[in-house]
């Protein structure tokens, strides 16, 4: 790829908020050797952010958790902000969400606190070009693979600008639901639970507790009781799996989930609804809707 225009060499992190990481589409295909896919928690938001600056959708961007990120750009470039709606300014001038924004060299981007949702994405034309690990630049918080979470003073290289330019100036994006509905398919271990467990899970709102993160959403609500008391030999887990330990409190596994687990999975949330789960703040509620099983 050749450089077109004045591609910036890097950005400097001046502040990282509560947690900011580099994310792309992750590293699929390595679960058998103990590596989870990882990558952006809100995949459509990452893809959109990349498209808005003319990048391939798979390039790496910054995932800001609850805003607070401050960046300085070295070199004029195009950036875009997607995901959780967050007030932001460049050198004190407010910028909007979901559209490309031109920034001058030396400019400083400041994110405030999102008005709703949890994770916002900052894409930069050319993508964040830290070293790949197993074909991905994603930070996997569980295994520690990929770049360390961002901290003040960190300099991030930016890749060569792509040949393409974005064709839109604003993408229409719907708001986030106050109580998102997560569709799930029963199984593989719904038969390990009391017969009314799925009904309980889908009949009540569950609160996203403060122990939630990229590994999983720990949920508080009516308990889901096991019918089988023997131990489950460890088995492979997938993103979206709702694992229920003996406590009866469900955990919705998200992008950095462990590749195997020893508690039964009552159902698996549709991949398309995991973005909504990624935007559910601690203290907010989610609802589940059961889809017909495949058995």
């Amino acid at each position: 790829m050749s450089k077109t225009g004045s591609a910036p060499a890097m950005v400097t992190v001046l502040a990282s908020g509560s947690l900011a990481t580099v994310q792309d589409l992750g590293r699929p295909g390595y679960a058998a050797i103990g590596v989870t896919r990882s990558g952006a928690a809100d995949v459509p938001a990452l893809r959109l952010a990349n498209r808005l600056v003319g990048n391939a959708e798979s390039l790496a961007a910054i995932e800001a958790t609850f805003g607070g990120v401050v960046l300085r750009f070295h070199g004029a470039t195009l950036m875009a902000l997607t995901g959780a709606p967050v007030p932001a300014d460049v050198d004190g001038r407010a910028i909007g969400m979901n559209g490309p924004v031109w920034v001058d060299s030396g400019a400083i981007l400041r994110l405030g606190i999102p008005s709703s949702g949890l994770r916002s994405y900052i894409a930069i034309r050319g993508g964040i070009a830290v070293q790949e690990v197993l074909g991905s630049r994603a930070t996997d918080l569980l295994s520690g693979l990929g770049p360390a979470p961002l901290s003040a003073g960190r300099e991030l290289p930016v890749g060569p600008a792509p040949a393409d330019w974005p064709s839109v100036t604003q993408a229409p994006v719907g708001g986030l639901a106050e109580v998102p509905i997560l569709r799930l398919r029963p199984g593989p271990r719904d038969d390990w639970f009391e017969p009314d467990a799925l009904q309980t899970l889908c009949g009540h709102a569950y609160e996203v507790t403060s122990e939630s993160n990229r590994v999983g959403l720990r949920l508080a609500g009516p308990q889901l009781r096991h019918r089988v008391s023997r131990e489950l030999p460890s088995e492979a887990m997938v993103r979206g799996a709702i694992q229920v330990p003996a406590s009866g409190k469900p955990v919705l596994f998200h992008v950095d989930h462990p590749v195997t687990g020893g508690y039964p999975v009552i159902g698996v949330v549709e991949e398309a609804d995991l973005a909504a789960a990624a935007q559910a703040r601690p203290g907010s509620r989610v609802r589940f809707r059961c889809l017909p099983g495949l058995r």
């Binding site: 699929p28 295909g29 390595y30 679960a31 058998a32 050797i33 103990g34 590596v35 690990v133 197993l134 295994s143 693979l145 398919r185 029963p186 199984g187 593989p188 271990r189 030999p233 460890s234 088995e235 492979a236 997938v238 979206g240 799996a241 462990p258 590749v259 195997t260 999975v265 698996v268 949330v269 549709e270 991949e271 099983g293 495949l294 058995r295």
Partner: protein, 205 residues
């Protein structure tokens, strides 16, 4: 119960439940050496093999049928890559394991290094393989209190398994010794030295 039992895992995976670990290893070997079109990932575990697939390329029903028709024979002893791991025995739990097993420390070392192991599955951390095939006399429980930090390269046992910790991490297994081999390297074509299906022997260094 009749096996294999095939269970749905969302829209794009099936969980194949099998009678025992031998059947898991046989099916894993079959599915990884003779690929079914549309499958994206094969993840073995203790009694199951997860078969992830692209629903645009194959349906769950057709895939389940293809898996059922496999019915693979048990693995031959020579199937899979063979890896030798040199171990300096004398780990911090060697004496405790000897006592639990009612054997001398030398006998523990002799029996542990005498086994033909196979990596059944990975989990816990990148490159952490659960090896089976060890001497049943060395079947000991985990430590009552896990260690906050187990050094990478530690050769350890717990229950029916042996493992080598790929890097420093917390851990509750009984530490028999240490190897200098690099268990995990992200830049290698095969980052995990010990991957499912590999055969392993431990040699006293």
């Amino acid at each position: 119960m009749t096996y294999p039992r095939i269970l749905p895992v969302g829209r794009s995976a099936l969980l194949v439940e099998l009678a025992d670990l031998d059947a898991v290893q046989a099916l894993h070997h079959s599915l990884t050496t003779d690929h079914i079109d549309g499958t994206t990932e094969i993840v073995p575990a203790a009694r199951t093999v997860l078969v992830a697939f692209d629903p645009r390329l194959v349906s769950a029903e057709l895939l389940a049928e293809a898996v059922r028709s496999r019915d693979p024979a048990p693995l031959s002893r020579t199937a899979g890559e063979s890896i030798e791991v040199p171990v300096t025995y004398g780990g911090p739990d060697l004496a405790a394991v000897a006592e639990l097993a009612g054997l001398s420390e030398q006998e523990v070392v002799r029996r542990h290094s005498g086994g033909d192991y196979r990596v059944a599955f990975c989990g816990f951390a990148p490159g952490f393989g659960y090896l089976v095939g060890g001497d049943p006399a060395l079947r000991v429980p985990r430590r009552e209190t896990p260690r906050v930090r187990v050094p990478g390269g530690s050769v350890a046992i717990a229950d029916e398994f042996t493992a080598v910790y790929p890097r420093d991490s917390p851990g509750g297994w009984q530490l028999l010794g240490h190897t200098e081999l690099e268990l995990w390297h992200s830049d290698r074509p095969n980052p995990a030295l010990l991957a499912p299906g590999d055969r392993v022997r431990f040699r006293e260094a």
